[in-house]
Structures are given as C-alpha cells and as structure tokens.
Amino acid sequence: MKARLHVPAVLLAVVASAAVAGCGGGGEETSATAVAPPSKLTDRVLVSGANPRVKPADLARPIAEYKRYVAAGLGRMEGDVRRLGSAVDAGDLAAARRAWLAADASYESIGAAYGAFGDLDARINGETAGLRGGASSPDFTGLHRIELALFGRGSTADAGAFVPRLAADVRALRRQVPGLAIEPLEYVLRGHEVFEGALDLQLSGRASPWSSDALVALESNLRGTRVVIGTLRPLIDPREPLLVGRIDRSLDALARTLRGLAGPSGAMPRWDRLPAAEKTLVAGQTAAAAEELAYVPEVVDPRPLVPERPAIGEVQAE
C-alpha cells in the first residue's frame, strides 16, 4: 500500500506561499496544494528542515524541570493550607480568606500537570459542576468547598471539616510528584490549554463563584504557562525562532495589566466587581495570548508523522 504522509506544516507553509507567489500550486484535492488565503499558516516562519521533529525523549528534560516546579508549588500550597487551617481554627475569617486565595493561587500555577494528578485533582480542585446535588454533594470537599464556606457563607466553622482533608490531599499529591507520569504530548498541549481553561472557567466566573478570584487564578495560570514555555524554549527556538518572543510579548502585556489592577497591598480585586472596560482588556489580552500560545503544540509535537489513512480500495490484503 502507498504510505502517503501528512505533509508537515513546515513544507505546507512553503508550498502554500509558493502558490501565493504565483509559482503554481495547482488544484489537487489535498490540503497541501490548496491555494492559500493570507492565513496565519502562510505567515509562519518555520525553519524548514533544519531540525528534526521533536521526539518524546526530547521532552524528558522539560517535563523533569516542570515536575520540580510542581513539587515546589505544592510545597508552597502545603504552607498556605497550614495557614488556612490555623486561621479557620482561630475563627479569623479575614486571615482564612487570605490563606485560601494563596492556596488557590498556588494550585492554579501548576495547571499543566492536572491531567497527571488523577483523582487527587478532583478532590483538591473539584467544582460543583457535574456533581449530583451540586454544592451539597458529599463529593464536594476541596478548595472550592472551603471557598463556599469562607466567601459564600462567611463562616470559618463551615470550612473546618474540609481543611484537614485538603491538607492531606495536597501532601499526598506532593509526595507523588517525583513518580508522576506526564505524557509528552499532554505536556506540550498544556502550553496553550491552561489559557483556554482560564478563558472558559476563570473569566466566566464559573471556577470560583464565591471568591470571584479569577484575576488571582489568571495571574497564576500566566506564571505557570511561562514556566512551561521556558522549559520548551530550547525545542521551540530552533524550529520557530520568533514564536517565544511573540508569546512573551502577549504574556507581558497581560501581566502588566494584571499588576496594574492589583491594589497597593498587591491584592487583586474581585472579577465580578471589575468595571466592564477592564474586563474587556483582560479578556482580550488573555485571548490574544491564547492565539499565540496555540502554535506551541504544533512546533514541538512529539508524535511521529502519521501515515495518512488509506482510502477505500487502497487497502490490500497482506
């Protein structure tokens, strides 16, 4: 059978722009020979052929680096949860809320690894969505159950039972980190999916309905994304030399906006009380960053080129 390959994006861009330049590119039915509109793809600069495709093994070092970062983040979160427990025990609502925001920020900064956390992610960060009974479900126990107590009900007592369990879950998770299996493909996808998650869950207000701490979470998402991009940079730069610069510019713009919104103490305003113009700015810059980050997985995709699936009639009996 013919083993046609998908044309890699590198070649595709060249073919497409050759067509644009009027050098042909005649009309076969395959996408590679379609006449290109002035699309994003034709605007790419991929250093054609200079570097082989990324292999899963190339991602071992970035993932190892990222795991160290995750372990540090969870270590910080353990401290946050300890302070949360003390404040809850003392009945100090304001201190409990501060500690909760810090814990949520810690967890939101390691989002690229959530997929590897298994059940512990749902225990720590589960939301009411999808739970029978919603907030009253017995399975609603983690950060957001405590958020409901502290921010929704203004009660430290209501949080009391859940803090020790959260502390135990975070500790268990931190201990698991060295053995955590983060799949190479999943890791490169998280390079932009953390921002997609922020647009879907944080800026909609769904993730943290009681504390409305989307800006806190977004700043953490940004920090974590920078770490992911930093670990991947040695693989990205030789293949698409300007991509990281573009990503950095978009993230810098958002970071500046977020810092500008923080109060003198550094505390973020609630998302649901932010004026519409500032929401528009944050959402726009977040989406603009997602547009840039979306190119990451392609450039460092660790999968081998997949042979095109045979058409009917092409498959011959062995």
């Binding site: 998908h6 890699p8 595709l12 861009a13 644009v20 290109a36 509109p37 994003k40 250093v47 989406a287």
Partner: protein, 410 residues
C-alpha cells in the same frame, strides 16, 4: 495578530526562509484568481473592497448584517494602527474570496474556521469600518484629529439607552448574503485583532426575502421602510447628502457619518392596535406602502395639498421625518437599516426591532434634525431606542497596500 505575523514573515526572509517572503496582500488576489467558480451567482457576487468610498454604504443591502462595536484595548498608537490595518487586509481577502486552506488535522491552529467549506466565496460581503468619538480621546494621541462632525451619540428625549449597547471606539459593519459568511468573516477578523479590539456590543440584522414583494422591505411593525431614500446612483446627491467634503480635514474627506440606533419595537403592543390607527401613525397604507391617499409606494405624499393633516396627520411619522419642504430636503439621510430579533425581555415580551442605520454628511444638520422633528410623535409609544452610536466612516482605500483609517496615522 496578522501584522505581527507579517513582521514575522519579513524576519523569516532575513533568516533565509526565502520561500516565505511573499507579502500577504498579494496572496489575497492570487487566492481569488485560483479559487474555483462559485456554484451560484449570489455566492459569486463580489463588492470591491477598494474604492474612493467604503463599501457597505451605497451598495444595495444584502439580506444579512452584523454590527459589532469594539473598544480599543491597544496599548499604543502603533498597535491600534496595526489592528485597523489588519481589518482591511482581512477584508480585502474575504470580500474577494479564496480557496480556504484547511491544513492537515493535528497541525496547529486551523488557518480557516472552515464553516464555509473549502471555498470562501465573496457572497456580497462588505466590511465597513467606523470610528467612534471616544477613539479620539487622549489615549492614542488622536485628540487633535477628530473629524469635525464626530461626537458621542446624545440621549434623545424618547430614548431608553442601555450603556452596554451604546457607543464604542470602532464599529465593524459586516453585510452579506448569508449568515455563515458574516460569521466566518467575524471569526477570521476577530482572531487576528483580539489583542487590539475588545467587543462592546453586537447585533445581527436581517431583511425580508427580496422575492416577497417589490419596493422597500418591511420592518417588524409590518410597514415598508426606506421607500423615500435618496437616489444612491446620483453622485451629486450623494456628494451633497452622504460624503464628507471640504468641511473636514483632508484625511477625512470622502467619508461619511453613520448613526446606528438599536430601536426596539414593542411588537406585541403594536399588534394589539387597529390597522387604521397604525396607518395614521406611520402615514402609509400598510398593504401597499403608499402614502395615505395615494396608490403607489413611491408616490409623492403631496403634503402641501393637505395643510391640516386631513389625509396624512401632521404628526404622522413620514410627514415629520421628511416634510418635503425646501428647507427640510437638505436634512435627508440615507437609511440602510436591518431588522433584528433576539429573544424575550423580563416581561416575556419579544425583543425585536430595527437596527436603524443612516449615513449622512452632517449628523446634526441631518440625522439630528430629523430626530428632533420626530420627538414626541405618536409612534414613540411603540418604539424604544436602546442602543447604538455615532461613527465616522473614513474614506475608502486606494490601492492594495492602503487600509481604512491609514491617513489618520500619517
């Protein structure tokens, strides 16, 4: 966004990726030339993007439109200019049509949303850009360049404006034969300008099927609307009534001012009113659209022979809007409205009405003069203006490298 990608492209040439160095605007025409012919005439209909004036003003209305008002979130004047330029670059390609590059699956962001299939047909698409007065504040150093007649839309006495659907820095008016063409264009432009323009409000409009009857289309009050528009084929009339001239700074000549008004119709209340009462409020026969006492839609209502309003009441809508006196003819406006419909209100009443759009050379001498005459008309009980804004439409683009608004940044 694409201008940065274009910088990228030039950088690529410097890096030796020479095959990628072709400038993208040429890509649009090359793409159009290579695109297979459209299956039907309405898909093939192309309205040129380039010209002395912007498209989407004099052209016959295609049946669908979307109006999106944006606030600029650009961090600098350069970013704003780049965003506006991107709109024109995309508009040039989208209005000409091209063969969409779908790209192989699993290879990064799809270059095209694909919602039109492999061929992006022009489908009578127009992309029209307007600038609101707020863009000329201190943010981008444009304060000194505001077009003479541009100001924020005021609140008129019968208005019930909702701030969330008023005003805006940049208006995008997209018109086309089909809704999917509009949404394809909007998604395409948005993904390229997301970091520059944040949406403020959006409303979609439609027209009745043209095959239904001749003459002006009906609004959702059931009356023919737009019958007495000025003649768009008369250049002299358009120069007098629509296009800006020497009263404006050089960069702003050949543009026009748009008054966009979201005017809700209280259709359920309206339907509970008798036909004769409706006709007296409007001044037209509902079935034919003819001015009362005449038999043709385009007949002159001849107000001078009816000074006491026995045939057409003195406060009828068409009489106040256009009294047809020598003094009032200079205040004529070019209307290009669409109907809209969008769900129910808190009282479970249908929320539908008119996206009123008028183009004029002078907002105060034309749109506002008409508006003032209409104040307190009997029809106001049935219509509720809730949003919209004033926008200046810069002149059209000259040549393949030009973009709408470019002269503002020179």
């Amino acid at each position: 966004m694409s201008v940065r990608r274009r910088e990228l492209l030039l950088g690529g040439a410097a890096l030796g990726a020479g095959a990628l160095a072709s400038r993208v605007p040429g890509g649009a025409s090359a793409g159009a030339a290579e695109a297979p012919a459209a299956a039907d005439a309405s898909l093939a209909a192309a309205i040129p993007f380039e010209g002395p004036h912007q498209a989407g003003v004099l052209d016959q209305r295609p049946p669908r439109a979307v109006f999106v008002s944006f606030d600029s979130i650009a961090g600098s004047r350069g970013e704003l200019a780049a965003g506006l330029r991107t709109i024109s670059e995309r508009a040039r390609a989208l209005t000409a049509g091209y063969a969409a590059l779908f790209g192989p699956t699993g290879e990064g962001p799809t270059p095209d949303s694909g919602i039109l299939g492999p061929r992006v047909d022009p489908d009578a698409l127009t992309v029209t850009v307007g600038l609101g007065a707020s863009l000329f504040d201190g943010r981008y150093g444009l304060a000194g360049r505001r077009p003479t007649g541009l100001k924020p839309m005021p609140t008129f006495p019968d208005d019930a404006l909702v701030d969330a659907e008023c005003h805006g820095d940049v208006l995008l008016q997209l018109c086309a034969n089909s809704e999917e063409t509009l949404l394809h264009a909007l998604r395409d432009i948005s993904r390229e300008t997301r970091g520059v323009l944040g949406p403020r409000w959006k409303i979609e409009g439609f027209l009745p099927s043209p095959g239904r009857e001749s003459g002006a289309g009906r609004n959702l009050l059931g009356f023919k609307d737009g019958s007495s528009n000025p003649d768009v084929t008369n250049d002299r009339t358009m120069a007098d009534l629509v296009w800006t001239g020497r009263e404006e700074p050089a960069w702003a000549r050949g543009g026009t001012y748009a008054a966009v008004r979201i005017i809700r119709n209280r259709v359920e209340f309206w339907d509970r009113v008798s036909l004769s009462e409706q006709e007296l409020m409007i001044g037209r026969d509902k079935a034919k659209g003819a001015p009362l006492g005449t038999d043709r839609e385009l007949a002159d209502p001849d107000f001078s022979s009816d000074p006491d309003g026995k045939r057409i009441p003195l406060d009828a809508h068409i009489r106040l809007a256009r009294p047809r006196t020598p003094e009032s003819e200079g205040s004529r406006i070019l209307r290009r409205s669409y109907n809209y419909s969008r769900g129910y209100d808190e009282a479970d009443q249908l929320d539908m009405g008119l996206v009123f759009v008028s183009f004029q050379r002078d907002l105060e001498a034309q749109f506002e003069a008409v508006q003032k005459r209409l104040e307190g008309e009997p029809l106001v009980d049935y219509i509720v203006p809730t949003g919209g804004g004033y926008f200046f439409l810069p002149p059209g683009v000259r040549g393949s490298q030009d973009w709408v608004g470019s002269a503002l940044f020179v």
